[in-house]
């Protein structure tokens, strides 16, 4: 009894944190979302997602998040595989190298991309020095996706690497003993056994990419309007907190839906999942 009390007591700081910083704000947002600015009940803030501008931004957000996730997955899986198969003792160091960029402020890293990609930037400087035609990337959708891939890639690599590390090598050996080719083993053994990592990687990239607005602010030059930007502008520029909250709730539903789809796919196992 005393022991149990102690355990719950230790959890109190976290419980208070969640209450003040997660649950209360959620209720506030819901409160704003279902009220007009003069306080009467309405659903119009939630239904405002049907507005062509908002639908277009939501569509663009889903598109950008999807492309970002696919590129991250295609890039991360081989890296994680190579990392796993490396015959060195100190793998922790390699993993550390992947986390290292995250030590620097995220805004600074995105601002660095501005300098690299701008019309007169580093990339075009190299291209023209080589006698190649310069390209226009900054302040386009491509730049936004590039920034997101760069930012979210470690979140894809780490869970996949973790799940690969958990695969027992003997399983792979058994497969080849039984005459399975490398490709067959990879498709039938390695990928299914690392599914947990892939799924949590997808969630950890797709969800923040869907709601992000900072990357598109800095690399989109005000031309790429994601749903996150619409919400931000409703809160700041248009001072319409009610509409901003309504759209946030809808976005939250999309996030929850994508997570539950992922969880459905994963219902057989419950390994390295986030939720």
């Amino acid at each position: 009894m005393i022991n149990r009390f102690r355990t719950s007591f230790l959890a109190a700081p976290y419980a208070i944190w969640v209450l003040i910083c997660t649950i209360l704000p959620l209720f506030y947002i819901l409160g704003y979302a279902i009220n007009t600015s003069d306080g009467s009940f309405t659903l119009s803030n939630l239904l405002a997602i049907a507005d062509p501008i908002h639908l277009k931004s939501l569509g663009l957000s889903i598109q950008v998040a999807f492309i970002t996730t696919v590129i991250c997955l295609i890039m991360a899986y081989p890296v994680a595989l190579i990392l796993h198969n490396l015959k060195i003792t100190n793998k922790g160091f390699i993993v550390f190298l992947f986390i290292l960029p995250m030590w620097m402020n995220f805004m600074l890293r995105i601002l660095a991309w501005q300098n690299i990609l701008s019309n007169n930037g580093i990339l075009n400087g190299i291209l023209s020095a080589l006698g190649l035609p310069t390209i226009h990337i900054l302040y386009t959708k491509v730049a936004v996706i590039l920034g997101m891939v760069y930012d979210f890639l470690p979140y894809m690599i780490l869970p996949i690497y973790n799940s690969l590390s958990k695969i027992n090598d003997e399983v792979i050996e058994a497969a080849s003993d039984l005459g399975s080719s490398w490709l067959n083993t990879f498709i039938k053994i390695t990928i299914p056994l690392s599914k947990d990592g892939i799924l949590s990687g997808i969630i950890m990239v797709f969800v923040p990419a869907l709601s992000s607005f900072v990357v598109s602010n800095l690399l989109g030059g005000g031309k790429v309007l994601l749903i996150g930007n619409v919400i931000e502008q409703e809160f700041t520029l248009a001072r319409n907190w009610n509409l901003g909250s309504g759209l946030s709730i809808i976005l939250m539903l999309f996030v929850l839906a994508s997570m539950s789809i992922m969880n459905k796919v994963d219902d057989t196992e419950n390994g390295g999942m986030l939720l």
Partner: protein, 355 residues
């Protein structure tokens, strides 16, 4: 046990919230010799602020904001009682119409005579009979361009912003009022029009322009122009003056169709608790030395006539900083939109960004 935990949590919450509210109240009980000032960011020389406190013995609580909209939100939130505020013309008008302004006692201002009468006259558009405001700085909206990439003739008309030759070389101003001002001027309409048909026409032109626009920027404009990432940019005159300081190839002009003249002024809001200190503050801002120091920090045109005596001929001849009478005659001031027009243009702006 669970119940106890919940009680504990809710008790802690209550204690925490009451702590916060008590400190908030504590801040409210200010002594007579404090002054709460609200101003644009980077809009005062730090030394002026220090000197005011030393000379008057008044403690200044100085707050900053970035855009006019931020200022309105901060003021309307009502958690701080501001004593004196500086903001732009059309927002002054909005607040005046909402009955938020207190008349200024011009007789108590010994330095008010330093202020240029033509700017005071121009202020009448947002402050009729000039009862509530004292001008602080003014300037124009025009085009900052790179003389190596664009010639003077091209930028003499706003048309250059629709020139396919400058695709991805044009920086458009990321502000609703200023962006719409450009096509409205080109079409020969009033920049304060509330006619939806005229606004729609302007909107169509902006949509058409978007394919040539490199980016919609505000604070980053001058950096972008200094590093020569773009050929021309729509921006404020002070932003342009700052850019020209770092890169000799840059020049600034207000196209022939005309632009916007804006005036930022000090006013006293209804929340003022220290009226005398607020008058002292405004008077201090009009004083020769303070105005000169501020001008040399901000680089916008100063309405203070005494500053000219302290500047060299080159600065005074700089038409970017001090627009000529001829330029000013082509520029109009913004007036506040009514709620319906504000909503309408906000939606058009959002549509343009999503276009």
């Amino acid at each position: 046990m669970k119940k106890k935990l919940i009680t504990f949590i809710s008790m802690t919450c209550l204690t925490l919230t009451s702590c916060f509210s008590f400190t908030a109240c504590g801040n409210d009980a200010e002594s007579a010799d404090t002054l709460v000032v609200l101003n644009y960011g980077k809009y005062i020389e730090a030394d002026v602020l220090k000197r005011f406190q030393q000379e008057t013995g008044i403690t200044v609580k100085y707050e900053e904001y970035e855009s006019v909209e931020d200022m309105y939100a901060k003021y309307k939130a009502g958690s701080i009682n501001y004593d004196v505020v500086c903001t732009s013309d059309y927002m002054v008008e909005t607040l005046r119409k909402e009955g938020e302004l207190i008349p200024i006692d011009y007789n108590s201002l010994t330095n008010y005579k330093n202020i240029d009468p033509t700017i005071i006259e121009a202020s009448e558009s947002f402050d009729p009979n000039h009862k509530y405001t004292v001008p602080y700085f003014y300037g124009t909206v025009g085009i900052l361009y790179n003389t190596e990439k664009v010639d003077e003739e091209t930028v003499s008309s706003w048309n250059c912003l629709w020139d396919p030759a400058y695709k991805n070389q044009i920086v458009m101003i990321n502000s609703q009022r200023d962006a719409f001002m450009v096509p409205l001027k080109m079409l020969g309409y009033d920049i304060n029009t509330s006619n939806t048909k005229e606004l729609d026409e302007a909107f169509d032109m902006l949509c058409d322009e978007k394919k040539y626009v490199y980016a919609y920027l505000m604070d980053e404009t001058y950096e972008c122009m200094v590093s020569e990432d773009a050929a021309m940019a729509v921006c404020y005159s002070g932003e342009a003056a700052m850019g020209m300081e770092y890169n000799d190839k840059l020049a600034y002009t207000v196209p022939k169709e005309g632009g916007n003249l804006w005036i930022d002024s000090w006013f006293v809001p209804r929340t003022c608790k220290h009226y005398d200190a607020a008058m002292k503050w405004i008077d201090f801002m009009c004083e020769e030395e303070a105005a000169t120091e501020n001008f040399e920090y901000v680089w916008y045109a100063t309405p203070n006539l005494t500053v000219a005596a302290n500047e060299d001929a080159e600065t005074l001849a700089d038409e970017t900083v001090f627009p000529t009478k001829e330029t000013l005659s082509r520029c109009d001031l913004y007036s506040a939109y009514d709620d319906k027009t504000l909503d309408y243009t906000t939606t058009l702006w959002k549509k343009l960004k999503a276009y």
